[in-house]
């Protein structure tokens, strides 16, 4: 079974036509990979489907806008994957 990061990286590569080997755990989806908000909807859709979860994008956006969180907490891929793992675990609990 592939890791969460591999699944997410493959989704990003396929959705945004970004070379797979340029996508690293430390990559920031927006600042490093240049993914815009519309492309991120496609990525979120694919992640939601692949993991059977619902990424709380509205909550994350609100927290960033309110200064309660940084984009790095949600959009650096290793952090995103940690949150995906948490959502998957919560679903199974």
């Amino acid at each position: 079974m592939s890791s969460t990061f591999d699944t997410v990286a493959n989704i990003i590569a396929e959705t945004c036509d970004i070379p797979r080997d340029s996508i690293k755990p430390e990559s920031h989806a927006i600042e490093d990979l240049g993914i815009d908000s519309l492309d991120f909807l496609d990525i979120a859709f694919a992640i939601d489907k692949a993991f059977g979860i619902k990424l709380p994008l509205e909550q994350w956006t609100q927290e960033v806008n309110d200064g309660k969180a940084t984009t790095e907490q949600y959009f650096v891929l290793q952090n995103l994957c940690t949150r995906i793992d948490g959502l998957v675990a919560a679903k199974g609990a």
Partner: protein, 157 residues
């Protein structure tokens, strides 16, 4: 169809918010200045308006699912296929289903049929946001009433 107001749906035929489906009806007008240009001597409903008709059908479904608390805004149209010409006076039977309700977005599949023949279909994605103005929500509720949208039934449900 109030084509000059970009209101392309005439009637909500039925909506099932729990099942995530909707059917609507839209009659293409016999006359419109649009047909004078598109095309002279060969009037056709523009494909972009057919896509908009599907988007409005799917949009009403999302409004229903969110009980008028949020507004869908068109974000992406994928795999749009325009399968046949649509001439003035055609009655379109449209349908849409919710493929996925995400956080702040929704993905739908919509299609239109006329006289039993497939007209068009597409996967349509929306951003789903709070109404930017209370007046907009009120206007949408009034528009919904004109379309026979079951507003009260939704509120009671």
């Amino acid at each position: 169809m109030r084509i000059e107001y970009f209101q392309l749906i005439d009637r909500i035929v039925d909506i099932d918010v729990s099942g995530g489906t909707i059917r609507t009806e839209a009659a293409v007008p016999q006359e419109s200045t649009i047909f004078e240009g598109h095309f002279p001597g060969h009037p056709l409903m523009p494909g972009v308006l057919l896509i908009e008709s599907m988007a409005q059908t799917a949009g009403w479904l999302i409004i229903g699912v969110n009980k008028f608390a949020k507004m869908p805004f068109l974000a992406a149209v994928k795999d749009a296929k325009l399968r046949t010409f649509v001439v003035p006076g055609t009655v379109l039977n449209l349908n849409a289903k919710l493929l996925h309700e995400g956080s702040g977005y929704a993905v739908t599949k919509a299609a239109a049929v006329a006289n039993g023949k497939a007209v068009c279909d597409a996967e349509i994605t929306f951003r789903v946001l709070a109404f930017p103005e209370p007046s907009m929500r009120k206007a949408m509720e009034e528009w919904a009433t004109r379309l026979a949208f079951p507003v009260q039934a939704l509120a009671d449900g």
